[in-house]
């Protein structure tokens, strides 16, 4: 009983678990690589020279701190106080680069010469190719064959940045298959290669490491919000969840403050029960995916099923183990938005505030009307990315 009474941290424990979620469910071939990282990551992150290099790059290269902007017209419409955390203004157009900067510095300190990564929509691939160009490391990015066709501009960006883009041709030929291929690549190149996972997924210590690199988001929100409102804590923090890295970063410094409602928004695709959805907590069950015990969409027989969302960044059949724990424990509130709702929300933000959001981030905006936030309350929405990459989709809705 004591553990229930104690204030829970919701952070990873010494064995790599969040409650019953997490761990490192990996084949022996990956064990030495993951173990090397596990043994070293905390020490490297806490090293002052690492911290200086990381924060200098975030400031001078990424453009941090990103603004916390009070969206006045949107606030008026929803009769509450809405603040947008402008991760869309990061270099490369999304929060993804916070993590890739951290991991490339990690890779250097581990003496790695090559980088492998997976990508869905290409945002993480671009963020990885970017830091590899910056640090002059060789870069291989796996991308589902289908996604390569759907995301040509990002494929071109990665190539221009000097990365080799390799198609994942097996299975469903999307993000989960690209992740499998990146893991296989790491198995085949265990000594000199570091795998930069793009989200808070994968075996321990990845979910914790990526969350730490993204935690700068909530660190900034706290002092920025204090400047705006006099209080460091909002009533709500909203973030979309595919794997969940932007949400993990936006929630991080509010996890133990239970008066801050943490709202994760999943992609319902064409509708949660349409058979074309990526609403993992609504449709999934506990199981093991990509090295950790989490909640994932699967058949009765335990085969991983193919999710669907208009937004490639949310098109993933699992969520990070920390999010699974937030869901399971009730600490997090999980909602979902359909493709249509997300597109509508994207147009709304554009017309009300002059900001074109990424389709992923638009999912978080889409629940503002059903949140039930009052006039006196404060809502922070993590605007994780910008919508340039989604113009092809948006164009279809412009008459």
């Amino acid at each position: 009983m004591e553990s229930i009474v104690e204030k829970r941290s919701f952070q990873v424990d010494s064995k790599g678990y969040y409650g019953s979620f997490g761990g490192a469910f990996i084949p022996e071939m990956l064990y030495p690589n993951v173990e090397e990282l596990r043994e070293n990551y905390l020490q490297i992150i806490s090293d002052p020279s690492f911290q200086k290099e990381y924060s200098d790059l975030l400031r001078d290269y990424v453009g941090r701190p990103t603004p916390l902007y009070r969206a006045n017209r949107l606030s008026e419409k929803y009769k509450t106080n809405i603040f947008l955390k402008r991760e869309d203004l990061c270099h490369t157009g999304a929060h993804k680069v916070n993590n890739t900067i951290g991991q490339i510095l990690m890779a250097q300190r581990l003496g790695k010469k090559r980088i492998v990564a997976e990508t869905g929509a290409g945002q993480h691939g671009v963020a990885t190719a970017t830091v590899c160009a910056l640090m002059d490391l060789e870069c291989v990015v796996y991308m589902g064959e289908l996604d390569i066709e759907r995301q040509a501009p990002n494929v071109a960006r990665m190539k221009m940045l000097g990365a080799e883009v390799r198609p994942a041709t097996c299975g469903s030929r999307t993000l989960k298959d690209a992740t499998n291929e990146a893991m296989r690549h790491w198995i085949n190149n265990p000594v000199d290669t570091h795998y930069i996972i793009g989200s808070v997924v994968g075996p321990h210590p990845y979910p914790d490491m990526v969350a730490r690199f993204q935690s700068i988001i909530s660190e900034e929100i706290r002092w920025q919000l204090k400047q705006h409102t006099g209080s460091e804590t909002p009533d709500y923090v909203l973030a979309c969840v595919g794997g969940g890295s932007n949400a993990a970063g936006a929630f991080y410094h509010f996890l133990s403050e239970e008066n801050v409602r943490l709202v994760a928004i999943e992609a319902a695709g064409m509708g949660v029960n349409s058979g074309h959805s990526a609403a993992t907590t609504a449709l999934g069950k506990p199981g093991v995916l990509h090295g950790s015990r989490t909640i994932l969409m699967q058949t009765e027989d335990g085969q991983v099923t193919e999710p669907f969302s208009i937004s490639a960044g949310l098109d993933y059949p699992g969520i990070g183990p920390q999010h699974a724990y937030l869901y399971d424990s009730g600490r997090g509130t999980f909602m979902s938005a359909t493709d249509e709702e997300a597109v509508q929300a994207a147009f709304e933000l554009t017309r009300y505030e002059g900001i074109i959001p990424a389709l992923e981030s638009a999912h978080a905006l889409a629940v503002l009307g059903r949140l039930g936030a009052s006039e006196n309350e404060t809502v922070v929405v993590n605007l994780s990315g910008r919508g340039d990459k989604d113009m092809g989709t948006f164009m279809k809705y412009i008459d």
């Binding site: 296989r184 198995i187 699967q298």
Partner: protein
């Protein structure tokens, strides 16, 4: 006594050629080929068999085995169907049988239920490459033991000496020795790096015998590997035989005989 334990005990006493373990994917090439392939492997003279439970995301496997997994799943293969297919196997199958697969389908079936079914149909051991050792020891070992199932651990050239010793301590049956840093089916033969790795293992005087897997495809590579261990495991090369076969029983038997180099004239 567990059939795997007995096989390795006898092999130690007799000291003849290597033991051949062949992997194939259940429900491949056709849904109901599982027991046909199993029977043909035994008829061909295989020493033990590893039946793969197909999975949508087999990260430790290369393209060949993944394709066979995809095909088997398209055929409708599932853990439940596999146990139905295997329910009478011990009427004719005397070789040790292992099930190999990824942990998620096993978890969904239920570990307790899964192990009970294994024991019921006569499975001798399991290879679940993405099951962490600590989870096995803390949560599952007692269930495995209660049902007489051995858990086979893997080691690779990157596995530290300390960890190899730990694996040797908790292993029963044999240790699955992955020959190189790779997924299945990507390399072939035994090179000088592997020689020194195998020599290093020999010098450790492990209590368990070893089977070498990954990159074994024919008689020559089998013989090479067997000179460094109790025997070897063939997977992808056998899946390729199944992909191309026009006469399943005959092709499977011929493959096993060629690998073990039984003279074709001896009828078995």
């Amino acid at each position: 006594m567990n059939r795997i334990t007995k096989l390795f005990q006898d092999a130690k006493n007799e000291q003849e050629g290597g033991l051949l373990n062949v992997y194939f994917t259940a429900g491949f090439p056709e849904l109901n080929d599982t027991t046909r392939v199993l029977q043909a492997l035994q008829d061909g003279g295989v020493d033990l068999v590893e039946i793969g439970m197909p999975y949508s995301d087999p990260v430790a496997d290369g393209e060949t085995i993944q394709q066979s997994n995809d095909r088997a799943l398209e055929n409708g293969m599932s853990v439940k169907i596999l146990f139905e297919q295997l329910k009478d196997m011990r009427e004719t199958i005397s070789v040790p049988v292992l099930l190999m697969g990824y942990i998620n389908p096993v978890l969904q079936f239920g570990i307790e239920n899964f192990c009970a079914k294994c024991a019921e149909v006569g499975v001798d051991g399991l290879i679940l490459p993405d099951m962490p050792m600590d989870v096995f020891l803390d949560e599952y070992k007692s269930i495995f033991d209660a049902h007489g199932l051995l858990n086979i651990f893997l080691i690779t050239p990157q596995t530290s000496e300390q960890r190899i010793k730990l694996i040797d301590e908790v292993s029963e049956g044999f240790i699955y020795t992955v020959s190189s840093a790779s997924v299945t089916g990507s390399k072939s033969g035994v090179d000088s790096n592997m020689e020194s790795y195998f020599a290093r293992l020999d010098a450790m005087n492990l209590r368990n015998q070893r089977l070498i897997g990954f990159g074994i495809k024919d008689h020559e590579t089998f013989k090479q590997a067997s000179s460094h261990a109790a025997g070897a495991i063939i997977g992808s090369a056998f899946i390729r035989v199944l992909q191309q076969t026009t006469d399943l029983e005959q092709d499977v038997k011929s493959f096993v005989r060629e690998v073990k180099n039984y003279p074709e004239t001896i009828a078995i």
